[in-house]
């Protein structure tokens, strides 16, 4: 039970003003009555210059990511949730159990306080679901027009509770490539939510934490070689990097890739290849061939991995390339993304 506060702080302003970033009373009210109240946790509560957390045995994973998505809210998620899950997922795919986050907010003058509260509350919900605490934070305010409402940067710390080595150098010819679900939901949801395409569709972002999926796979020990969350640049870019870093080939079966009908329709209309569109709640992993069936069963046991599938194989030739065997019976190279068809999606 947290101790009852001495004085309940109040935030009366309807909109963020430059005063909220000036470091004075307005800043304190904002921090205490909004951020601390919503994100409520023991590490954050003292509101000191640094959060002090217990020590952890073994290796740590540290990561950071900035979130500038436009619009701030989209079907299936919002920037607050994204800022938690994005960083949690970066820790998770490194094989770590996510523990603490810090969050830096750049607020635009004029942002409605109620909207900010909603986003921070969503961040708090996301943190609870992912089992992390937002232990430290900072707020700055910039003049109206200098930011799109709100930018968030989250850094994260996670603990590696095993001695496994994960990475492209662990991948061997014959290994299997697994994907936890459908492709391109997040990127297309945000694209449609922006409204400049005047396209409507039942497309929902897949924003979710994958830490339980990664934890499940880690039970397989060194049969797990490599894990990634295919965000910007999509599955294509994640696999192209794996191929180039490992010096091996990745052969993917197009027929094994799942894309929801509405997402596929939107991609077809816009001429966008779903392989290159961002996901925010998917895991792609390479595992030893002998463990592939067990790995699939572990992924599918989690609702988030219900649609998990084996999508391809690692081969030795041709080195450094991803090949897609098309449904039609042909094949082609899958290259890294050049340019950015969908800016500001995370």
């Amino acid at each position: 039970m947290p101790e009852p506060r001495r004085r309940r702080p109040v935030l009366r302003d309807e909109r963020i003003t430059l005063a909220h970033g000036a470091g004075g009373k307005a800043t304190r009210d904002l921090v205490e009555a909004l951020f601390a109240e919503e994100l409520d946790n023991e590490a954050l509560a003292p509101l000191g210059d640094s959060a002090v957390v217990p020590s952890v045995a073994g290796r740590l994973a540290v990561t950071t990511d900035s979130y500038v998505v436009r619009p701030l809210e989209f079907p299936g998620g919002d920037i607050g949730e994204l800022a938690v899950y994005g960083t949690v997922n970066d820790l998770a795919v490194a094989g770590a159990r996510p523990l603490w986050l810090s969050a830096g907010f750049v607020l635009e003058e004029g942002l409605p306080v109620a909207r900010l509260r909603g986003l921070v509350a969503s961040m708090a919900d996301a943190a609870r679901r992912a089992g992390v605490a937002v232990a430290a934070g900072d707020t700055k305010v910039v003049e109206r027009g200098k930011a799109d409402g709100l930018y968030v940067t989250t850094s994260g710390v996670g603990a590696l509770e095993h001695d496994l080595a994960l990475g492209p150098e662990q991948v061997r010819p014959g290994d299997r490539v697994l994907l936890s679900g459908t492709l391109a939901d997040h990127g297309m949801a945000v694209m449609i939510a922006r409204g400049d395409l005047r396209l409507e569709g039942d497309v929902v972002s897949d924003t979710a934490p994958v830490h339980e999926l990664t934890a499940a796979l880690l039970r397989l020990g060194d049969a797990v070689r490599w894990m990634r969350d295919p965000t910007r640049g999509g599955l294509a870019t994640a696999l192209a990097e794996l191929a180039s870093q490992s010096g091996l080939a990745v052969r993917v079966r197009e027929a094994a890739l799942l894309v929801r009908p509405a997402v596929r329709a939107a991609c077809e209309i816009l001429g966008i290849d779903p392989l290159y569109v961002a996901n925010e709640g998917k895991l792609v992993a390479v595992v030893d061939a002998g463990a592939a069936a067990d790995a699939l069963a572990l992924l599918r046991a989690d609702p988030l991995g219900a649609d998990a599938a084996e999508i391809g194989t690692v081969e030795s030739e041709p080195p450094g390339l991803v090949l897609l065997d098309t449904t039609l019976g042909g094949s082609r190279i899958v290259d890294v993304l050049v340019g950015d068809p969908l800016p500001r999606i995370c």
């Binding site: 400049d196 395409l197 009908p261 596929r264 329709a265 077809e268 816009l270 290849d273 041709p318 080195p319 450094g320 390339l321 090949l323 897609l324 065997d325 098309t326 449904t327 039609l328 019976g329 042909g330 094949s331 082609r332 190279i333 290259d335 050049v338 340019g339 068809p341």
Partner: protein
């Protein structure tokens, strides 16, 4: 997905591939040029070449509208974009095309206001939303996109939008085809005709190809099964001793085209004396300009444009690639000085460009020693 899956059916594709094999004479190569960049992209995206026998060689033609815009016109667009108070709106593909002074994306980074739109009507809407700025739409494309520009011009006039103009770079499909057909030592035996352009101009517009140049053409849709069927139809013509215009894209394309779209083009635009094509040089009456009646929305009359003619980089052989004289990988800079990331020539810029499509999707099919980036 309805209207897509039927045309990507592996079973149908295998059947058509078998039919194609039965229509070729072993050892006798038939060179088929697909004119349209959309076809080039589909061929690579679905790995279609692997389904074809070695006797069918695909040559990628000039139908990538981004690829044929000369560098001087890109510089003109940059000059418009850099004018105080002006927003330049254009299709995403155009943003990375290098001109003499870099690309529009680079101009944007230097402070110009360049925005991506999906339709000229979106650019007009932008002008309505931002009345304090002048919005100029950088119009590119064949007869495919010209009707949308025409409709936009007519609406801008009807609604009296004062802060909108169009920088017209629309081109026509017939002149470059004639240029290719008149290339000495032509390496093309048959043509897969563009689908979208044909929905506007109709199939009759291609009769000069069999009648004057003795080459068959089949107008094709864009899905893999469509393309395979079109190739089979071309080969069937050869076997039957026919040489004519045929229409595979019957679900959209009519013999006479789309009269309303053609009327909108004719009402707003007219042929230019000549227009410079990247790789092909100047071609007479090969592009459209805005008619005098619409001078008030014609960016070429509103802005002082440099209008310079800029030579393509010497090492770049886009012209020969565009005319089917050269395969992408036969160009000396392919994959080395010229890559999708840092394109030298325009064929490498758009994903519909012959070089970019080949680089991104097909370079594995090269003999090993010729492979780059692999």
């Amino acid at each position: 997905m309805k209207y897509v899956d039927e045309y990507r059916d592996p079973e149908l594709a295998r059947g058509l591939a078998a039919e194609i094999r039965s229509l070729v004479t072993p050892g006798e190569v038939v060179r088929v040029m697909e004119i349209c960049g959309g076809h080039t992209h589909a061929i690579y995206r679905h790995g279609l070449e692997e389904l074809l026998p070695p006797e069918v060689e695909l040559v990628h033609g000039p139908g990538c509208p981004v690829c044929v815009i000369p560098m001087g016109r890109v510089d003109d667009a940059i000059a418009i974009a850099e004018t105080e108070g002006v927003t330049l709106a254009t299709f995403g593909d155009m943003l990375r095309v290098p001109g003499g002074r870099g690309s529009l994306l680079e101009a944007n980074a230097r402070g110009a206001d360049v925005r991506m739109v999906y339709s000229p009507l979106d650019a007009l809407e932008l002008a309505r939303q931002e009345p304090e700025r002048h919005v100029c739409f950088f119009a590119i494309g064949f007869e495919t996109t010209a009707p949308a520009t025409a409709v936009t011009l007519l609406r801008a006039r009807a609604a009296r939008v004062p802060n909108f103009s169009v920088f017209c770079n629309h081109v026509l499909i017939e002149p470059p085809l004639r240029a290719i057909l008149e290339t000495p030592g032509l390496r093309v035996d048959a043509f897969v005709g563009p689908g979208h352009v044909s929905s506007v101009i109709g199939t009759d517009a291609y009769r000069f190809i069999p009648e004057e140049y003795g080459r068959p053409i089949v107008v094709s849709a864009f899905e893999p099964v469509d393309l395979l069927q079109s190739i089979a139809m071309l080969l069937r013509q050869r076997v039957d001793g026919r040489c004519e215009v045929e229409n595979q894209y019957t679900r959209v394309v009519r013999r006479e085209g789309n009269a309303r779209a053609l009327a909108a083009i004719a009402e707003t635009m007219e042929a230019r004396e000549d227009f410079e094509w990247r790789g092909l040089g100047p071609l007479p009456r090969s592009a459209l300009r805005i008619r005098d009646e619409l001078a008030a929305v014609d960016a070429e009359r509103l802005f002082a444009l440099p209008g310079a003619r800029i030579e393509d980089p010497k090492a770049c052989r886009c012209g020969e690639v565009l005319t089917g004289q050269l395969k992408p990988w036969e160009c000396g800079v392919f994959g080395t000085a010229c890559t999708p990331e840092r394109p030298l020539g325009t064929c490498m810029v758009s994903s519909e460009g012959a070089c970019a499509a080949f680089f991104s999707y097909g370079r594995l099919r090269l003999p090993r020693e010729a492979r780059v980036g692999a």
